[in-house]
């Protein structure tokens, strides 16, 4: 990934990542979390992404922070995915927004970074209970699966 991205911090087990979005709304802490989904074969991880609630410290993926740095934020998330894959033997990664609008934002993010992502990952979109190879600017997918080649 050769795109501008934020520096980030990660947990000792490389499954939780934090970075600061800087923009007109100030400094907002972002979280990217990879959580193993139990009892599945092959193993896969759920990706959750959003703002860190300053009061609870928990992830809130319903906030729309609009900090005028979307591309940098998405490139940072992409970097955390690469880092996670380095440490976890390239498992499937599942991503779905908490709402259809949020999932659409994920899709726009993948589309925006498509040249970089498609060079290293197989990406699938879920549509009507079927997985399809992800195609930018096609249908509105309901969820995504990524696997590094």
């Amino acid at each position: 990934m050769n795109l501008e991205h934020y520096h980030y911090f990660n947990s000792h087990d490389y499954r939780a990542y934090e970075f600061y979005s800087e923009g007109p709304k100030g400094r907002i802490t972002k979280l990217v979390l990879f959580t193993k989904v139990p009892d599945t074969e092959p193993p896969f991880y759920n990706l959750a992404f959003g703002d860190k609630n300053p009061l609870t410290g928990e992830l809130d993926d319903k906030v729309k922070s609009n900090n005028s740095d979307r591309d940098i934020v998405l490139a940072t998330v992409a970097n955390t995915i690469v880092e996670f894959c380095h440490h976890y033997d390239d498992p499937y990664i599942y991503a779905e927004g908490s709402t259809p609008v949020r999932t659409r934002l994920y899709q726009m993010g993948i589309t925006g970074l498509w040249d970089e992502i498609s060079a290293a990952f197989d990406v699938f979109g879920l549509y009507n209970d079927q997985w399809y190879k992800f195609r930018p600017n096609s249908v509105n997918y309901e969820a995504f699966l990524l696997k590094r080649r």
Binding site: H7, N10, T40, F44, W131
Partner: protein
């Protein structure tokens, strides 16, 4: 209005390991998302990845 200074870089760079970054596996929101992911994969399975 003060200038916005972004702490960014280019190219792939590793993160900084920090004990301040906590595990969130038991956050209610995360638990709910994991359950939903599991339910979806149980229903539709995994896609076929063709070997070259």
């Amino acid at each position: 209005m003060p200038a916005i200074v972004k702490n960014t870089t280019k190219g792939f760079g590793h993160g900084i390991v920090s004990s301040e970054v906590k595990n969130h596996d038991n956050d209610p929101f995360v638990v709910k998302k994991v359950e939903k992911a599991k339910e979806t994969i149980r229903r539709v399975g995994f896609p076929e990845i063709k070997k070259k």
